[in-house]
């Protein structure tokens, strides 16, 4: 694809099934009813000049450039605000229109700098383009009058500038902030000639405003008023390549706009089915880590972790590693070896890592970060629905009438989807939020939850069961759906259970801290408010009863008939970009790709025949069990691709002990992450910009990742894994990820219809994609559940063993913030740190006052597991008795405090409930001091030896 802006049709696409035929400039055209004249013209080959119109927001009708003549109509109406009518005859270009448009353009240009040659938007400016289109040759008014040309530029945002001297006050930025992003940070301040775009109050600049830097305003701006600093620095892009974001599970697609091999900017792709042309601050701007000075591009080895790293050639690194692996295997057996696949890497890379572990190492000790996030989703939805993937596509939210958000904070963790959800809420859908914190969705501009259930952390099952109690006892369930789609006897058993008095909101109020009346009202709304859609996140899964809570959610959706059509469903919001794909590719220790158990001889034989090996017949170790086994001495070596378990996994001391006990830790990553402090081999990785492959997002959508620059380390990650496999003794010879996709399709029924070529043709597809579903599957369980009947499961509330008491009287829960991602390895190495440069501890004013804290004070956060220090933020966003922090910064290491307790079914850690005490502190904890020393020593690199190659 060469560089050209994506076609802009001026106004949104009409969804009407009714067709209207009209004539435009003598051409008979047929378009859906509700289409604007502007769009009808653009869709049929005739663009009408425009400035204030753009197709991802409603028509505004202010610029008066898109005027047309319509037979029988008076005047010259704006084509953007005029809908097509049957038989309408439109003229878009007449002498009268020419004159009018030129006059309008003259007025615009009379207050616009004529610096096109030095302007950063030169040749990529709609104002410039439209001036040319209307034939502007002169400005009769001169430039001597009042103007805005001397207004200063606001450089405060790290990623874009606001130059009001170039603003034409078309309001596209303001409308983008309102309609697309839903933040309402911008406004037009003043009247008439004094009208100006403003980010908040007079004294606010963009950085100080409520702007969330999603980039929608920059994308919408038709001039250089709002423009990326990178474009100013580098120049106009010369080509664009569509690829998929490597941050959260939404899976936004972007045009990587390039000059040579230099990335100029990432612009959301309007045809992207997950993001529909929108973006967030991470995907849009936070890619600078790819060229950060911390990036390691040469392999390194060391014999022990107290030595400095030694840069070596790839050959030496791989030879050293293979020798160690073979030696450990000879001494301790294959089951002493294992690996962790990365949810940030492609499907093809993940597939190869599990293949390496199973077929080359010879054991099934492979796991992935889903272990610590959504593994309970897998267990819970599989038990109830028969298949565990999210049931809907993201578009589905636009058909929802009642949206229930449980244990998720979409505006921070899945911001692009949150913007769509907020758009639906502004249209009138009702919102129920179940979360210990008053997240932004509870109340933000033009959004207010109908009900917020601020439950006590650890009581999800109790709250969900009490909702079910109301639905059953008040007979609000959908009997027809249940009889058709589920087993009635199982429903009956479940209904009897939830109807017990001990499951009533009134009885459980003492446990959940949620007023019974609020629970009753929320239950009634969900059951009777129309299409009910549930979205949930790690606040559901990361508990000792994570799997049970997922089942309670599924029970509720089935009982109310909210499954199997657009606008309803059960939707896990997955954390990392390819966590769904990593699971699909066989990253769990008990199953091969396609969710087939390793015990199954027939399945094994398919892989054994294709791979030419004999597979271990028993499940392998999960991540926490690998660490236990390492401490016990039976697990000796691990290959970790693109994960930082030391920072992300619970009970950091135990993780460190496990890693330290291993003979060989191989870290394959972009940076010397925290886990690498305990590594013996470092294999440099490649970024998503440097590789080909596919990611699968939270809606099961498989999307292409395309290489836009050569890997700084020399190899894509799948190539590194292949080189390692071959060094250990395999004979792999893939030359492109498309061959790995072929192998996946050949061996995995749910991907049988997938190929790189097909994906490039259709853009994306939601699995299953095979003979039965050649076009993929946007909504699941439409005709019935994947495995026959939906299953109601009795879920008894079992309180966590993590209890508060006199020593640890507060409950800590952890989460994310908008500008940072996971352990921060990427985002901490971008300008996103201007918004969040340290983890802070949110504390309710009452708890703060009792302990003598004010915002900014240092506090020691201590649990039974460990302690750390961080600054306090006093806020009533958290309830009394609850404190909250993020885990983005290794200097804090929030997981020093979290415990080994985990979900009963999947061992997903109980990050969301830790009993803690908080007390004043005047410095870092002993752990932090020791760790800082270790991290510094561990990152020494001896570069004296030149690589052999």
């Amino acid at each position: 694809m060469g560089f050209e802006r994506q076609k802009d049709f001026g106004t949104p696409e009409s969804q009407s099934a009714e067709q209207v035929t009209l004539t435009i400039d003598g051409r008979e055209v047929t378009v859906p009813a509700g289409t604007s004249v502007m769009r009808a013209a653009a869709e049929t080959g005739g663009d009408i000049p425009k400035l204030c119109a753009t197709d991802n927001m409603k028509a505004f009708g202010s610029c008066r450039l898109c005027l047309v003549e319509i037979e029988g109509a008076r005047g010259t109406p704006a084509s953007c605000t005029t809908p097509v009518m049957p038989g309408m005859v439109v003229k878009t270009q007449t002498p009268r229109l020419e004159k009018l448009r030129r006059g309008v353009m003259e007025l615009y240009i009379s207050d616009h700098p004529l610096d096109c040659l030095t302007c950063s938007a030169n040749n990529d400016c709609e104002l410039q383009e439209q001036a040319a289109n209307v034939g502007l040759r002169d400005v009769r008014y001169g430039y001597e009058g009042d103007n805005h040309l001397a207004l200063p530029t606001d450089h405060s945002n790290p990623y874009f500038d606001f130059d009001p001297s170039k603003c034409i006050v078309c309001s596209r930025c303001v409308r983008a902030c309102d309609e697309v992003q839903g933040t309402f940070a911008l406004t037009i301040d003043g009247r008439g000639f004094a009208s100006m775009v403003s980010a908040g109050q007079d004294e606010d600049n963009f950085l100080a405003s409520e702007c969330v830097s999603c980039g929608a305003c920059v994308q919408a701006c038709p001039t250089a008023t709002l423009q990326e600093k990178s474009v100013k620095a580098i120049g106009r892009p010369e080509k664009a390549v569509v690829t998929t974001c490597a941050y959260c599970g939404v899976g936004c697609t972007f045009r990587a706009e390039m000059r040579g091999e230099q990335l100029v900017r990432m612009v959301p792709w309007k045809d992207g089915k997950a993001n529909r042309g929108h973006s967030c601050v991470k995907g849009r701007f936070a890619y600078g880590y790819a060229n950060h000075k911390d990036r390691i591009t040469r392999p390194m080895i060391r014999d022990s972790i107290d030595q400095p790293w030694r840069e070596v050639s790839w050959e030496e690194a791989l030879g050293y590693t293979a020798g160690k692996i073979n030696d450990i295997k000879a001494r301790h057996g294959a089951r002493a070896l294992g690996g962790i696949t990365s949810s940030r890497c492609t499907n093809e890379e993940t597939y190869l890592v599990q293949k390496l572990v199973r077929s080359v190492f010879g054991a099934n000790n492979v796991d992935t970060c889903a272990r610590v996030c959504h593994s309970p989703t897998g267990y819970g939805l599989k038990t109830t629905f028969g298949t565990s993937a999210g049931t809907q596509d993201f578009d589905s939210v636009m058909d929802a009438d009642v949206i229930m958000v449980i244990g998720a904070n979409p505006t921070d963790a899945h911001p692009v989807f949150a913007s769509r959800m907020k758009r639906r809420l502004r249209q009138g859908a009702k919102l129920i939020v179940i979360d210990p914190r008053r997240i932004d969705l509870v109340r933000s501009p033009h959004i207010e939850a109908a009900h917020h259930l601020p439950l006590q952390p650890g009581t999800n099952v109790a709250v969900m069961t009490s909702l079910a109690h109301v639905i059953v006892t008040e007979k609000l369930y959908d009997e027809k759906f249940i009889r058709e789609r589920c087993d009635w006897d199982e429903f009956d058993d479940w209904a009897r259970f939830v109807s017990l008095e001990r499951n009533s909101p009134e009885f459980l109020e003492a446990v959940t801290c949620v007023p019974a009346q609020t629970v009753r009202e929320a239950a009634r709304l969900y059951a009777t408010g129309g299409n009910g859609a549930i979205y949930y996140g790690l606040g559901v899964t990361e508990h000792s009863q994570g799997s049970s809570t997922v089942m309670t959610i599924a029970n509720l959706a089935m009982a109310t008939g909210n499954i199997g059509r657009p606008g309803v469903g059960v939707n896990p919001l997955r954390g990392q970009n390819n966590v769904q794909g990593a699971c699909d590719m066989g990253s769990f220790p008990h199953e091969l790709p396609g969710y087939r158990h390793i015990h199954d001889a027939e399945t094994r034989s398919v892989f054994e025949k294709d791979w030419g090996v004999t597979l271990d017949t028993e499940p392998g170790l999960r991540i926490p069990n690998m660490l236990d086994a390492a401490v016990d001495g039976s697990f000796r070596a691990i290959y970790i691709q693109g994960e930082d378990i030391l920072q992300s996994d619970p009970n950091t001391r135990h993780v460190a002990a496990g890693l330290e006990a291993m003979e060989l830790v191989i870290v394959h990553d972009l940076f010397l992450n925290e886990t690498a402090n305990y590594a013996h081999v470092f294999l440099p990785g490649s970024t998503f910009l440097e590789k080909n492959g596919t990611f699968t997002n939270a809606e099961r959508r498989i999307q292409p990742v395309r290489k836009v620059m050569e890997p700084a380390n020399g190899y894509e990650d799948w190539q590194v894994t292949q080189m390692l496999a071959n060094a250990v003794g395999a004979n792999w010879n893939y030359t492109h990820p498309s061959q790995i996709i072929e192998e996946i399709a050949r061996l995995t029924p749910s991907f049988a219809g997938l190929s790189w070529e097909r994906l490039n043709e259709i853009g994306s597809v939601q699995w299953p994609v095979n003979e039965k579903f050649p076009q993929g599957s946007p909504v699941m369980h439409v005709e019935g559940f994947a495995s026959g009947k939906g299953k109601f499961v009795v879920t008894e509330y079992v309180p966590t063993d993590e209890k508060t008491g006199p020593r640890y009287p507060l409950l800590l829960t952890t989460g994310r913030i908008l500008s940072q991602y996971n352990v921060g390895a990427q985002t901490r190495r971008t300008d996103n740190v201007v918004w969040h440069d340290e983890d802070v501890l949110e504390m309710h004013p009452t708890d703060a006052e009792n302990r003598g804290f004010k915002t900014g004070d240092w506090a020691k956060l201590a649990s039974r597991t460990g302690e750390t220090t961080l600054r306090v933020l006093v806020t009533d966003r958290v309830a009394p008795g609850v404190v909250y922090t993020t885990f983005h910064h290794p200097s804090t290491q929030a997981n020093v405090v979290t415990t080994d307790f985990s979900d009963w079914a999947t061992n997903c850690p109980e990050y969301k409930v830790t009993a803690v005490q908080v007390m004043p502190s005047n410095g870092p904890s002993e752990w932090q001091e020791d760790y800082a020393d270790l991290a510094e020593r561990s990152r020494r690199i001896d570069t004296a030896m030149e690589p052999a190659e």
Partner: protein, 93 residues
């Protein structure tokens, strides 16, 4: 006793506790099924060798059932996996 054995006891106990609503006999089978399908051999061996008096009755009976070399058929849909040519199930995490 290693901390690993303590962890395994807790894991077995948690599984048993969450199946308890099924009634003792079914819960024993479900617990045994879960451990059979998801635990690595060394984990099973360690808990077999452990003193079972520390386990809850359901967990104990499940471990002793597995120790005889038996394993139950799938007791929940979580342990029904796709057959070789099947598409239906998944347990994406």
């Amino acid at each position: 006793m290693s901390s690993t054995v303590e962890t395994l006891r807790r894991m077995a106990g948690d599984i048993a506790r969450n199946f308890a609503a099924m009634g003792h006999e079914k819960a024993v089978l479900a617990t045994a099924d879960h451990i059979y399908q998801f635990w690595d051999p060394r984990m099973k061996a360690a808990i077999f060798a452990d003193d079972h008096s520390h386990l809850s009755p359901i967990a104990r009976d499940a471990i002793e059932y597995l120790q005889t070399g038996s394993h139950p058929a799938s007791q929940t849909r979580a342990t029904e996996f796709n057959s070789v040519d099947e598409v239906g199930h998944s347990d994406a995490g």
